[in-house]
Amino acid sequence: MNRRIEKNRLKPPATVPAPAAVVKRPRWNARAWREQHASSCRESLGRLAARPAASALTLTVLSLALTLPLLFWLLLDNVRALSGSVDDARAVSAFLKPDLDATAIEAEARRLRERPDVAGVEVKTPEQGLDEFRSRSGFADALAVLHYNPLPAVLVVALRASAGEAAPALVEELRRDPAVDLVQYDAQWRQRLNAIVATVARGAAVVAALLALAALLVIGNTVRLDIQGRRDEIGVMQLLGASDGFVRRPFLYTGFWYGVLAGVMALILIGLVEWALSAPLARLVASYDRQFDVHGVSSAVMLAVLAASAALGWLGAWLAASRHIASGQPQ
């Protein structure tokens, strides 16, 4: 018998516990529940920090899977804002022959207004056209050199909303009209642009869904390995009467932290991309006289990204945990 054991000799029976017959089963306790969640939350983060290399690798993969769709979305959002700033293109611009005088122009406008498929006609005189051109094109200095106004009068014909035909009859008639020099009808390229944007948006959504699935699997697999590594501990807890929920909880927090941290990393990566592009973009915008603006990720979107990635992490962990913890108990 060594001395340590001697020292730790058992207490006399006087100190034994109260009779087992008066055992009270602990009831559900809100404070205990909060404490346990807080400690699971802390411990899970601590476990990630305890294996920095493995955690960093997983987080990098996850954050890239989040960054890619976010970049797509940012690009699309900017393109949409840009195309939205183009005037509604259910309008036909008819550039009149330059030799027409004001009465002839008015007569032409009146004739068009009477047509049933025309909602309204706006007359832009050459003077108005010149003012607009000066203010919007950035060629004000060059125009000042001109001694005369080279612009013709323009009739902007708003069409009544009709079926989405590619080119309404009016466009053809105007093209044949002797008073009209040139007809510009924007709807066609605009429809094409919209179709392109919609296609790219759908493609981006598909890519985002695939990457989200990949993120789910990465988190699920990481948590599965974590569960396998702690199989003995889980077994002991189950022997002591831990419910599936209790055993699952720390792993759910692990998934949650993977999600949140990957979301933060993705936002940092987006920030870096924005920073890298900011100088050339600013030059591009300046060259267009700031007729459009480029925006980054708003704080609302940042919050949404964090919430979504946290939810993704939680879900991935939940799938793995419910699949791999349930085994090992008799039915």
Binding site: P17, V236, L240, G241
Partner: protein, 224 residues
């Protein structure tokens, strides 16, 4: 408190570990289960804690028929049974006090109460001074006493122990058995599987003898 009625257990391999076992251990009684290795001692204890389901027969523990306990009910059943293992099954990366407190944490007790009761349980097995040590720094006997403190910290009405003294020398074994005896004296029902016959004899308690899965003797000492 623990009742077996014609209980048989056949493993999927075809091995019949227990055949038509019938016995009852009353409230606050202490009994040993003994027999050669492979006689079915461990299986019998596993059935009580629902680590295994019986193939045939009825078991009831704490007045509950185990047949009516479904998968979701198993954790609650186990929280009412203290379990001690030969290899003590402590979590090696947690301190002694955290190991002892684990059943209370699992049962959802608040932290201040958990710490207080875990210390009280450690004090009872004489290891309060080692509360912050890691299990591997303790001797085998001390580790087993931590395991006993953990089994009793939530004051379960039933305690089962599978070869709790299997790795210990005779003197330590006697100490451990003395602990079980103390808990029985305050009303806990105790069932201990052991093949240490001299020790069992000295304890002077009821003994259930298994042989090839059959209950061949139920010996009650005259004094009891």
């Amino acid at each position: 408190m623990i009742r077996f009625e014609l209980v048989s257990k056949r493993y999927p391999s075809g091995h019949e570990a227990l055949s038509e076992i019938t016995f009852e251990v009353g409230d606050g009684e202490m009994a040993f289960v003994t027999g050669h290795s492979g006689a079915g001692k461990s299986t019998l204890l596993k059935l009580i804690a629902l680590l295994e389901r019986p193939s045939r027969g009825q078991i009831s523990v704490n007045g509950r028929s185990l047949q009516q306990v479904n998968r979701r009910g198993i954790p609650a059943l186990r929280r009412g049974i203290g379990m001690v293992f030969q290899d003590h099954r402590l979590l090696l990366d947690r301190s002694v006090i955290d190991n002892v407190a684990l059943p209370l944490v699992i049962a959802g007790a608040p932290r201040d109460e958990t710490a207080k009761r875990a210390r009280a349980a450690l004090d009872k097995v004489g290891l309060l001074a080692r509360e912050n040590a890691l299990p591997l720094s303790l001797s085998a006997g001390e580790q087993q006493r931590v395991g006993i403190a953990r089994a009793l910290v939530s004051k379960p009405p039933v305690l089962i122990a599978d070869e709790p003294t299997g790795n210990l020398d005779p003197q330590l074994s006697a100490e451990i058995m003395g602990l079980f005896d103390q808990f029985q004296q305050v009303g806990t029902t105790v069932l201990v599987a052991s093949h240490d016959l001299p020790l069992i004899k000295r304890m002077g308690k009821r003994v259930l003898v298994l042989d090839h899965g059959r209950l061949i003797d139920d010996f009650r000492p005259a004094a009891a």
